[in-house]
Symmetry: C2
Subunit: 489 residues, 2 copies
């Protein structure tokens, strides 16, 4: 079994790395920090894209595409934005190579750019420079645009999917007439992300806002969804920012209002990335490999024939053809693995590793009995079913699996969520992992001291704890509500 993974218990971090490689999701490339997303990993990303894209369009957004390169001077225009991103920017300085006298390829110094170009780490600046030309009057608003793109943020400690120098994402950038409308949009989109995380990825998330320390560089408010991984660490799974008029002021984007007054436009931006694949892995998978929720699985059902010779395979394939037809008619994606180069046991392990939710196995005795063996990836349970009404049966099973995966993650989170009121309990709980609800006096200073002492940060100031006062876990000062501390990815 060359493909066996390190167990989670033994070494969680190694388990994750093993799984990503052995389930053929991604691998490191020759460019430090940049990954190759392999077909199975990319197919999962395509499923995510498709679901999200539909949700974005249903909420009135359109896709567009803005340049990869951003003039350096654009960054300077929004002070906190440049401060946030300056340290991780890839910079293009030349636009030509040449071959020197020794036949070596070198950068052509005659082709130096007058102004350096930054490879986008995020696109607020180039987009707001564009919106200036698009907006004159309130009639031009709102602008509701999303972009699917690659971005680059230089990473000193890269990890596949979780932190890579280049990653794929979507970034929404909207422009509004009023503050309230922009806030509504930012809240709507964090809601879309929460819906997607829970109902597609099967990952329960906390919704709320970030503390000022953790806010997006240039935002007035950052809304987020926060998920708990199986090692008790938190993972930020999506953010939506109310940007106020910061970028409109930096890029001079004004409009004539209904009252015929020149005003600055209100903005939001929001994004999720291929990091979600990391979240998906760490939320559900086990020591046998990936566990995919059916709604996000590129292949939902794999069928493996059990045969001794060609005649048996032919007879089984005949039956499988019917089953495939029935399943496809129900929009279930199915793969028939009839390779004769590998034994069934090898195939079982491979599809388990790759997280396919349902495996059907059919042998000669099944043919006689009109049965099929059904194995669930999430529980690893097996059952023998009559082939009659197999479509409905599998359809229902996929719904059950989707639900079970979510419920399991929810139970895990509930079991690892704590309300604490003493400093000792606080540090103990953080040490063991999980979401720790504690009171905080609301100051960045206190948050930084806590981070220094515990390595934990405020992951989210949750909406559902609002107005429940108490005393700060560190300073004893008045706290307006509990906030959620955790160590995080």
């Amino acid at each position: 079994m060359a493909k066996q993974l390190t167990s989670r218990k033994e070494n969680y971090s190694q388990w994750y790395n093993d799984l990503v490689i052995k389930a053929d999701l991604a691998e490191n490339s020759a460019v430090r920090g940049s990954m190759v997303i392999k077909p199975h990993g990319y197919a999962i990303w395509e499923k995510m894209q498709s679901a999200l894209d539909t949700m974005f369009k249903e909420t009135g957004h359109q896709n567009a595409y803005f340049p990869l390169f951003i003039p350096k001077s654009f960054f300077a225009k929004e002070a906190s934005h440049v401060e946030g991103f300056a340290k991780e920017c890839a910079v293009v300085t030349h636009y030509r190579l040449k071959i020197d006298e020794d036949g070596k390829i070198i950068v052509d110094e005659d082709a130096k750019l007058e102004e350096e170009l930054i490879v986008r780490p995020t696109s607020e600046t180039i987009i707001w420079d564009t919106y200036r030309k698009w907006v004159q009057s309130y009639r031009d608003l709102p602008i509701l645009i999303n972009q699917w793109a690659n971005v680059v943020r230089w990473e000193m400690r890269p990890r596949l999917f979780l932190r890579t120098a280049e990653f794929l994402w979507q970034e929404g950038h909207t422009a509004h007439e009023t503050k309230n409308e922009a806030i509504e949009e930012a809240e709507r989109m964090v809601g879309v992300y929460a819906d997607f995380a829970e109902n597609w990825l099967g990952i329960p998330v906390l919704k709320g806002v970030k503390s000022p320390n953790e806010r997006f560089a240039g935002a007035v408010e950052t809304y987020c969804i926060e998920a708990l991984m199986q090692d008790g660490k938190a993972l930020q799974a999506g953010t939506s920012h109310f940007l106020g008029q910061n970028f409109a002021k930096a890029f001079d984007v004004k409009f004539v209002s209904r009252e015929n007054i020149q005003e600055f436009v209100w903005a939001t931006s929001w994004g999720v990335s291929t990091r979600l694949i990391g979240a998906l892995i760490m939320a559900h998978s086990d020591d046998n490999g990936l566990v995919l929720p059916p709604k996000i699985a590129p292949i939902q059902v794999v069928i493996v024939p059990i045969f001794k010779d060609k005649e048996q395979l032919a007879a089984i394939s005949e039956k499988v053809k019917e089953i495939v037809k029935v399943l496809k008619a129900k929009n279930i994606s199915v793969k028939y693995d009839d390779r004769d180069t590998h034994k069934p046991g090898f195939k079982f392990a491979e599809w388990e590793l790759k997280g396919i939710p349902v495996r059907l196995a059919i042998g000669p005795r099944d043919l006689e009995n009109g049965t099929v063996e059904v194995a669930r990836r999430d529980t690893l349970e097996k059952d023998t079913l009559q082939v009659t009404n197999i479509g409905e049966k599998i359809e229902n099973l996929l719904i059950q699996i989707q639900d079970n995966i979510f419920q399991k993650a929810l139970s895990y989170r509930d079991e690892h969520t704590y309300n604490v009121d003493t400093w000792d309990e606080f540090t103990n709980r953080l040490e063991q992992g999980g979401f720790v609800y504690a009171h905080w006096d609301g100051t960045p200073e206190t948050e930084l001291i806590i981070k220094g002492k515990t390595k934990a940060t405020i992951r989210v100031i949750p909406f559902d704890e609002m107005h429940k006062e108490g005393k700060c876990i560190l300073t004893g000062k008045l706290s307006k509500q509990r906030v959620v501390f955790a160590k995080a990815y």
Copy 2:
């Protein structure tokens, strides 16, 4: 009419630029040579992506994603490849900015990369470096992978969609056991492109191979599809390359064959880009704006109400709701433009400009008579139809329009295709535009002399002229077949 275009007759090039801007397809950005693809333009690209992606998957390909950045040394490994791309490479030299003592944002010289990174102009090198790790045995072959990505090729004379520094495309990269299998793949994919161009974009194309001068840098053979624009200039609409073992040798990608011998892998690559949007515009559009073939139109039918007051609008909207339902049930994409801020005439012009294939207008009299006015974008003809069976009627009309657009382009091409045998006729014809079939002695030298004298190049060595011998138009030497000359984009 602020939106009116320069006519094609007056200034074809200006007409094109006007159309791209005024139909809201794209615009220039602050970064020279990089465009912003606006929602309407991007929606057309999404339709293209969706159709092509399905065709790629039906021919056995999977999507994956490879890094944006390529180490400079990778380029040096395939000699003709680097020669072809060196002059248009954007080069990343640093990975950090900093704020200097005067508060200015500058490149941090302490963050200079040891080896410069090239922003991919195409991905053969990074992909073949990766394939080396994926291939050991003939059992690992073929690898059939496609990538949707952005690429950068520095452009000194940029034009929206046609030549931009950054563009979007797909690039297929396949690895095979045998030479024949790779050639078959390259030919299959140029066939897919021709099918897509003709049956989706409505653009008739010539299929064949490129002359050595026009071959892709690193290819053994370049297959292409070549289309004729309305100004008589040719446009290369897609290429598919048989790469031989060039990249396998450069990156040491070997496999153990069925005969248990170490052999180099055979390769292909193939791509089409957002340039196709330029082709689509120039093949079909007219002085009123864009003309979209229904199969590639993001909106196929627009419905405009003609009303004097709110009551009329309400009554019309009631009827329109039914029509929309009927059309959607037939998978026809439809937009109801019930804005009360603009007059019908304005809306008619706007949707004409944007190329929507069918416009329905409904006024109070139509309500009484159970009719609707139908306008075709391709012919600008209007007709009044009974609403009964409107679904079937529009469905058939869209098929007719798709066919008519193709037939019109085909007639145009036929009328501008010439067989010539004398130098005078050759230069005259090239001056006027069109595809000129002429004999060529097969040498790069002759092609270059002809290019120098006429500015025309060999666009394609067409398959269907093979083995029809003659005498070279320039040198009088033996020619194996006619080739197609034209001036080109």
